[in-house]
C-alpha cells in the first residue's frame, strides 16, 4: 500500500528528526506512481504532486517520526478537495417533469443506470418514466422495457422508430399528460469523436431541455477519461457524472481526473448489476480507494 511504501522511504532517515527535500521528493515519487497506477490522468497527477509538494515542503518541520502520516494526510486532504463534496443529488425542476439525460460511451452502464435511477427516485416518492431513446443497439429498447417491467416503472418507447429525438420529445409530452414528474432518457452509447452521434444527442437535448445531463462513465476507464469527459462537456454541457462498476477492484482514478478537469460533481456511483445497486458519491471513500 502507499502507506507502507512511504514508511519505507522515511524509515531510512537517521534519527535527526528532520526530513530533507530529497526525502520529500522520494515520497512524492511513490505518491505519483500510486496515482498513475490508479488511472489518475497524467496531467492531473502532475498538478496534484506539485500542490502536495508545496504543502509538504512548506510545512515548518516534517518530523521524521510522523513524516509518513503527515504526507498521507496531505495527499488524502488534497484528494478530497479535488473530489468535491458528495452532497449533490438530482436538481429537480421547479415545475415538473424533471428531465434527466443519460449519455456516455458504449457499454458504460447507461441503460442499467436508468433503471436504477428510476427505482431510486420512486423510493423518494417520485413518479418516474424511463425513455428508450437508444434506437441503435440491438434489443436496447427491449432491455429497458424488461428492466422497467421488473420494477413496475413505465417505459416509453416507439417500437421500430429510428428517431431518438422524436421518441424523447413524445415521451416528454406523454409524461406531462400522465403526471410523471421525472423523465429519465436512456440514449445509445456513442464515441465523443463520432460527429453524427454527438449531433443526435445534442438534438435530443434541444428537444427536451434536460434539467440534468449526466455522463455515465465506467470506473475502470483509464487515461481516456479526461478526453471523453471534456468532449461530452464541450458539446453538451454536462451537469455531473455517474461512475459505474465500482463494485469491482478498479481504483477509480478517473473520478479524480474528470472532476479536476471538468469541475462538475460525481453524483452517483453504480455498485452492482441489480436495480438497487446505486449509491450517492462518497468522496472520502473514493479517496481511500484511489490511494489503495
Amino acid at each position: 500500500s502507499l502507506t507502507e511504501k512511504l514508511q519505507k522511504v522515511f524509515r531510512r532517515l537517521s534519527n535527526q528528526g528532520k526530513v530533507t527535500e530529497q526525502d520529500v521528493n522520494e515520497a512524492l515519487r511513490e505518491v505519483r506512481i500510486a496515482l498513475l497506477e490508479a488511472d489518475v490522468h497524467f496531467k492531473v497527477v502532475k498538478d496534484f504532486i506539485s500542490r502536495v509538494r508545496e504543502r509538504a515542503v512548506g510545512q515548518e518541520v516534517l518530523e521524521s517520526l510522523t513524516a509518513t502520516q503527515q504526507v498521507i494526510k496531505i495527499v488524502h486532504e488534497e484528494l478530497i478537495n479535488l473530489l468535491g463534496d458528495g452532497a449533490e443529488g438530482i436538481r429537480f425542476a421547479p415545475k415538473p417533469p424533471t428531465v434527466i439525460l443519460l449519455c456516455g460511451l458504449q457499454g458504460s452502464g447507461k441503460t442499467t443506470t436508468a433503471a436504477k435511477l428510476g427505482l431510486w427516485l420512486r423510493k423518494q416518492g417520485r413518479r418516474p418514466m424511463l425513455v428508450a431513446a437508444d434506437v441503435h443497439r440491438p434489443a436496447a429498447v427491449q432491455q429497458l422495457k424488461v428492466l422497467g417491467q421488473n420494477l413496475q416503472i413505465p417505459v416509453f418507447a416507439i417500437d421500430g422508430s429510428r428517431d431518438a429525438v422524436r421518441i424523447a420529445h413524445e415521451a416528454l409530452q406523454t409524461a406531462i399528460q400522465q403526471g410523471n414528474d421525472v423523465v429519465i432518457l436512456d440514449t445509445a452509447g456513442r464515441l465523443h469523436i463520432d460527429n453524427e452521434m454527438m449531433e443526435e444527442v445534442r438534438r435530443v437535448k434541444e428537444a427536451t431541455h434536460p434539467d440534468e445531463i449526466l455522463l455515465v462513465l465506467d470506473a475502470m476507464t483509464g487515461q481516456d477519461a479526461v478526453r471523453v469527459a471534456e468532449e461530452f462537456h464541450r458539446q453538451l454541457e454536462v451537469d455531473g457524472f455517474i461512475l459505474t462498476k465500482l463494485d469491482g477492484d478498479t481504483r477509480g482514478g478517473a473520478a479524480i481526473s474528470i472532476r479536476a478537469v471538468v469541475g462538475k460533481p460525481i453524483k452517483f456511483v453504480g455498485i452492482g448489476e441489480k436495480p438497487d445497486a446505486l449509491d450517492v458519491f462518497h468522496p472520502d471513500r473514493m479517496a481511500g480507494r484511489i490511494l489503495g
Binding site: 506512481i33 498513475l36 497506477e37 490508479a38 488511472d39 490522468h41 497524467f42 460511451l105 458504449q106 457499454g107 458504460s108 452502464g109 441503435h136 443497439r137 440491438p138 434489443a139 436496447a140 427491449q142 432491455q143 422495457k145 424488461v146 428492466l147 421488473n150 464515441l191 465523443h192 469523436i193 465506467d218 475502470m220 476507464t221 483509464g222 487515461q223 481516456d224 477519461a225 478526453r227 471523453v228 462498476k245 463494485d247 469491482g248 477492484d249 478498479t250 481504483r251 482514478g253 478517473a254 448489476e273
Partner: protein
C-alpha cells in the same frame, strides 16, 4: 510525437507522457525507458527520430514474441470459441462480428446464448444471429449457461456445423461465485468436446486502464484464456495495458474491434497498434 531537435531528458519526459497516457503500466513504462536510455548510450543515438524508432522496435518485439495470433481451427468440426470478460466490454458484439466474417467465408455458425442473466441478452444475440445468418441456440432466461453451451456443441455435431461461438454473461473478476460459474461453463464445454474449447477469448475494452491487467490475471487463472479481443479501439483510447498483459501473461492479442457494425473487426496487427499508440 516530438518535433524536438535533441536527445535529452526533456525528450524522455515527452516519451514518458506518450506511454503513460496510452495506459501503459507505470512499471512497464519505467522499464521501457530505462532500456531506451541504455540503448541511446550504447548506440550513441543523436536524433530524436532514431530514439523513437528504437522505442517502436522494442515495443514491437515485446508484442510479437509469444503465442500465435491466428485463431485456432479444429481439424474436426465444430471449432468452438468461448467469449468471456467483464460487463459491457463488447463480448456479444464481437461474437456477432466474428460470425459475420465466418459466414462471409462460407462457414456455418451456431451462436450459443450463454448469457442467461442480463435483461434482453438473449434478444440481443438473436437479432445478430438473424442479421449474420447464424443459428441461435438458446434456453430460457435464468437457465444454466453450461446447459446452453452443451446443447450448442451437441447441435453443431449433429448438424455438421463448422463453428460454435459461445456468449457468456459479463462478470467482474472479483465475484468468485460468477468466476466459479464460468469455470463450470468451461469444464462442460471441454467435456462436450472431448478437448478444451479451441479458443477462450477474453474481451477487453480499450478504454479500460490498469484494471485490464487485473481482469486478465483473474480470467487467465480461471479459464485458460488463449487470446484477447481488444474492443473499441476506434475511440481515442490506445489500449496500452495489453502490453503488460502480453509481457506477463503471454496471452496473444488476436482480434481488434473497431466499431459497432458487423465488418468492424480486424486481425491484430502489432505494427499498426504500436504506430497508433506512439502517435
Amino acid at each position: 510525437l516530438t518535433g524536438r531537435g535533441r536527445v535529452d531528458e526533456e525528450l524522455f519526459e515527452e516519451l514518458e507522457e506518450v506511454l503513460l497516457t496510452a495506459d501503459i503500466n507505470v512499471h512497464t513504462t519505467m522499464q521501457v525507458l530505462d532500456d531506451l536510455r541504455r540503448a541511446v548510450r550504447e548506440q550513441r543515438l543523436k536524433e530524436p527520430s532514431e530514439v523513437k524508432s528504437v522505442l517502436k522496435e522494442s515495443l514491437l518485439a515485446s508484442l510479437q514474441s509469444g503465442g500465435d495470433s491466428a485463431l485456432k481451427v479444429s481439424p474436426v468440426p465444430p471449432t468452438v470459441y468461448l467469449f468471456v470478460g467483464v460487463n459491457g466490454v463488447g463480448k456479444t458484439t464481437s461474437i456477432a462480428k466474428l460470425a459475420y466474417r465466418l459466414r462471409q467465408q462460407g462457414k456455418s455458425v451456431i451462436l450459443a446464448a450463454g448469457d442467461t442473466f442480463r435483461a434482453a441478452a438473449i434478444d440481443q444475440l438473436e437479432v445478430w444471429a438473424q442479421r449474420v445468418g447464424a443459428t441461435l441456440i438458446k434456453h430460457r432466461e435464468g437457465a444454466d449457461p453450461s446447459a446452453v453451451i452443451y446443447d450448442a456443441i451437441a447441435a453443431a455435431r449433429n448438424r455438421g456445423v463448422d463453428y460454435v461461438l459461445a456468449d457468456t454473461a459479463g462478470r467482474l473478476h472479483t465475484r468468485s461465485n460468477l468466476m466459479e460459474e464460468l469455470k463450470k461453463v468451461y469444464r462442460v464445454a471441454e467435456k462436450a468436446l472431448g478437448r478444451p474449447p479451441d479458443e477462450v477469448l477474453l474481451v477487453l475494452d480499450a478504454t479500460t486502464g490498469q484494471n485490464a491487467i487485473r481482469q486478465a490475471q483473474e480470467f487467465v487463472q480461471a479459464v485458460n484464456v488463449t487470446g484477447i479481443v481488444l474492443a473499441k479501439l476506434d475511440g481515442t483510447a490506445r489500449g496500452g495495458a495489453v502490453i503488460t498483459i502480453h509481457d506477463e501473461l503471454k496471452v496473444p492479442i488476436k482480434l481488434v474491434g473497431v466499431g459497432e457494425k458487423p465488418a468492424d473487426i480486424e486481425d491484430f496487427d502489432a505494427e499498426e497498434f504500436i504506430t497508433a499508440l506512439l502517435g
